[in-house]
Symmetry: C2
Subunit: 547 residues, 2 copies
């Protein structure tokens, strides 16, 4: 299917390219159907445009930078916001010309530090990227919805199991965003969803709800020796208690320039022992943007204790104590004593220490957490991100002065959205989702061929050759994407090759069957072959394809 | 159609991209039909491969070189000989697997010093490049012929006037080569052909034949003052003689390393006053590879005279006198006297000087020259090179050790051919060939749309809207690539736009015509519109398209 040329760089061999072309055709049809207009923007883009939006400096070494023979700077496009905004600012003058949505299907390059997972995280890849332009937020959200619906149709037509999840907007800003994932156990991303409602978000964005109320304090506070137990797991094991009754502490530092000087602020984040910090959520705590983990020196200086034994009891200003929502509802819990090799048991808010300065959602959700929409509990599965829709707003149009004249003749910045599909990544994701020990199992819409004809003795039997040729022509006439294997291999080797490639439908043409008027059909997922009458075979296969 | 982003870098706007896609579809169909197999090779290619063939060093700044984040070197492909040879050397083991022909349609970058003529000499462009692999010279020539024929079909289907011409093989080596040119008065290249035979070559390769025999000397040799006349044109004007009786001299130097020392050889090339030196042909004179024009110092030292007055009389070893074939047959001619401000008249070979050391084809042919095949005289027209087929031989397979096992189990280097079509350049060339003062005149097969419907009052007249919508659906159903102009412009502005874009067929739908059952049809080259019955219009237009 593909052949590695260099790190993260692949040649698409004929079979792989056929799949890519089928992906592209479906994407193109649905994009056109949704009113988007195709153009083709260049790969090599002048640095000046990237400097206008600041991305030339903001993007690190992932942006592949090129110097031409005259020493001028260019970027190999990772996406094309700058170029499309440049096109549009010279083409769109009036509100009468919008809404507009332009897309292209074009090669991208992202100089990943460690390209891995083959096509999943390659460096050179093909992406469909679309950009919508509207007069106001409402229009932009309408364009966004049109794309969201088009993506749903596209992934449905691919025949892949997928899930759209709400995503965090990240550093790009903007007001809304969804990712489209192909479900696969090997996926890089954790997807959170509620089986009894339509709630779905990626792990970064999924909200952790704490329900119920805090129980009254039942135990007395006691300082307990926990030698060499700097982790909650070790503490729970030593004290023979449930990990869920422990609280762990994460010390963070936020450095900000104030009046030309660097000022440091310290934060103590508290999570239940079995929970994981969600770093995106931490960045949304007031005062914690930006943040980093505190250094050992800072911890010793601020808390008077080595890391591993910190806790909220005795911790005071200037440290801000931020409790995760779950922790804020705990009572009789175990937490560090701010003294090496010691923890407190029976700790209680209000009694043993002040209520936390802030309560926030700090953790990753786990299976069984209540769904934020109140309609059940959350489940988690793994996915491969293959699409992303994004409400950009006016970030690009403002920095690049892409305006239009509104009904009152006043200039206003265009409201933008952007919409990507990883064309070549679909190839990898489809395989990760659909394989068995024999090889790939392509969904019919993406298969390099829908049907393979395997004649037994194409070069030996005149009858076999004649019927194979006739069947090939008939299948083609019926619009079936068909191939004949005339290599003359033994049946076992021939079948194994096509099972490996994953062609969904196979018909074997043999003399014995022909004499009885039968051919042997087997679907890629079928355990056994079945006999089908020669006269019915094309409509039989056509029916299977249309299922 | 296109929009400039930077020097030699363009965005293809929707109409331009539609043309590109039609070009690609025709190329793809005919390549597949000819048995070639499509794959897709990457743009960013590791330097190591380019070092194997030596092209990393041989190619100058035209090769765009890239460093990734780890400082590793890459080339942005200008062509893909190295990558395909690398693919093939790991895939092809036996003579049973060949012949094979792989192609891709992919973006290229050539860092031209002065990008110009828009798409004609851009830097980023799309090319179809194919590479054939055969076991021997005969097989390779067969593959070459198959591609030559496919190219002929491709350019015929484009509906463009084109000409295939024999080309010089240039520095790449190999054994045969043809260029395919779109005929256009603005073309960069001069094409030589014989209207009464199938002889055709580009100017570099077209052979100049000298016919007849040398006339006997009729005039006496005389040294004549030609003050300040260092050019043949000036000499002829001063002496009131035909430029064709003068001979001009070009002094060349060839420097070669011999036993570690640089040895210089001097050559005096003689051309008829009205003829032009063909620098490619000069390089093929024995001893003249490589060569350069002699410096003024060298000329004064070797000939004892300033440039502008050199001539063969009195010139002797170590200078090699090389006469163009035409000059070798001249008698009673005028030539420099090796003395500033003086020429000889009545010069004759054999009598006034030795016969030339060498006689060679040194000049560009001119209109009216005899055709090398003896079947008439040559004509010249201008063209834009859009395709090139090339017999590569074993240059790449030998340097990259791409071998196969022959019938005797012995490894042999693969015989290669390479075949290019400038996909995006076709867009420019088609326009250069087909335009008038109103705009472009697309051939139907490349037009962004085959038919435009221009309703008069689409948003005012229910009847017009209804008939337009019906006609649009009927045209689509008939397989016509149709567009409706529903912008509501006045007829003049609307027609002017579509004439500028060059859509070949136009139908106007108006209330008055509809009441009489008529529509107005006009072809892009027609002087006037004609009325066509509503009921016949689709088959009428279909007929026009198929013409």
């Amino acid at each position: 299917m593909i052949k590695r040329l260099g790190s993260g760089i692949y040649t698409y061999m004929p079979m792989g390219l056929k799949v890519i072309r089928k992906v592209e055709a479906i994407v193109r049809e649905e994009m056109n159907q949704a009113g988007a207009v195709e153009l083709l923007m260049p790969l090599v883009q002048p640095a000046e445009l990237w400097q206008e939006t600041g991305r030339w400096d903001k993007m690190g070494p992932e942006l592949l930078r090129i110097k031409d023979r005259h020493g001028r700077d260019y970027a190999f496009q990772p996406t094309s916001e700058e170029v499309i905004t440049d096109v549009v600012r010279s083409e769109i003058k009036s509100y009468r010309q919008i809404p507009l949505n332009f897309y292209h299907i074009q090669t991208k390059f992202r100089d990943e530090r460690r390209p891995r997972f083959g096509l999943m995280r390659g460096r050179e890849f093909t992406m469909k990227d679309a950009y919508s332009f509207d007069r106001d937020l409402e229009g932009m959200q309408k364009s966004y919805k049109i794309m969201y619906d088009a993506y749903t149709r596209i992934f449905t037509r691919f025949g892949l199991q997928f899930r759209a999840v709400a995503a965090d907007n990240g550093a790009i800003g903007g007001t809304g965003s969804h990712e489209f994932h192909v479900i696969a156990g090997t996926g890089e991303d954790a997807l959170v969803y509620c089986p009894s409602s339509d709630y779905a978000a990626n792990m970064e964005a999924a909200e952790a709800i704490a329900t119920g109320s805090r129980a009254a304090a039942g135990a007395a506070l006691a300082k307990t020796a926990t030698p060499k137990a700097s982790k909650c797991e070790d503490v729970a094991a030593q004290l023979k208690i449930d990990l869920k009754t422990t609280v762990k502490t994460i010390a963070l530092t936020s450095e900000k320039e104030v009046d030309g000087k660097v000022a440091k602020q310290y934060f103590m984040l508290l999570l239940r022992g079995d929970h994981e910090l969600n770093e995106i959520k931490a960045g949304k705590v007031p005062g914690l943007n930006p943040y980093r983990f505190s250094t050992e020196e800072e911890i010793k200086e601020v808390y008077g204790c080595a890391p591993g034994y910190l806790g909220p009891i005795g911790t005071k200003a200037p440290v801000t104590v931020v409790a995760d929502r779950t922790v804020a509802l705990m009572s009789d819990f175990v937490t560090g004593a701010n003294e090496v090799d010691f923890h407190f048991t029976g700790a209680n808010w209000g009694r043993d220490m002040a209520e936390p300065s802030l309560v926030a959602d700090l953790r990753n959700v786990v299976e069984g957490d209540p769904s934020p929409d109140g309609k059940g509990v959350l489940a988690i599965e793994r996915g491969i991100e293959v699409g992303h829709v994004f409400q950009l707003g006016t970030a690009y149009s403002e920095s690049m002065q892409a305006t239009f004249l509104d009904e009152n003749g006043k200039p206003a910045p265009l409201q933008m959205g952007c919409y990507g599909i990883g064309i070549t990544r679909i190839l990898g994701a489809a395989i990760e989702q659909n394989f068995d020990d024999k090889g790939i199992i392509w969904p019919t819409s993406l298969a390099p061929f829908e049907l393979v004809l395997c004649p037994m003795g194409y070069d030996r039997s005149e009858m076999v050759k004649e019927e194979t040729d006739k069947l090939y022509a008939a299948a083609q006439a019926a619009g079936i994407d068909v191939i004949v294997d005339d290599r003359g291999l033994r049946p076992g080797a021939m079948f194994a090759d096509w099972e490996l490639i994953g062609v969904p439908h196979r018909v074997v043409i043999g003399e014995r069957g022909l004499k009885e008027g039968n051919l042997e059909y087997q679907g890629r997922r079928d355990a056994e072959a079945s006999a089908v009458a020669l006269a019915d075979i094309v409509s039989f296969v056509k029916g299977k394809i249309q299922q």
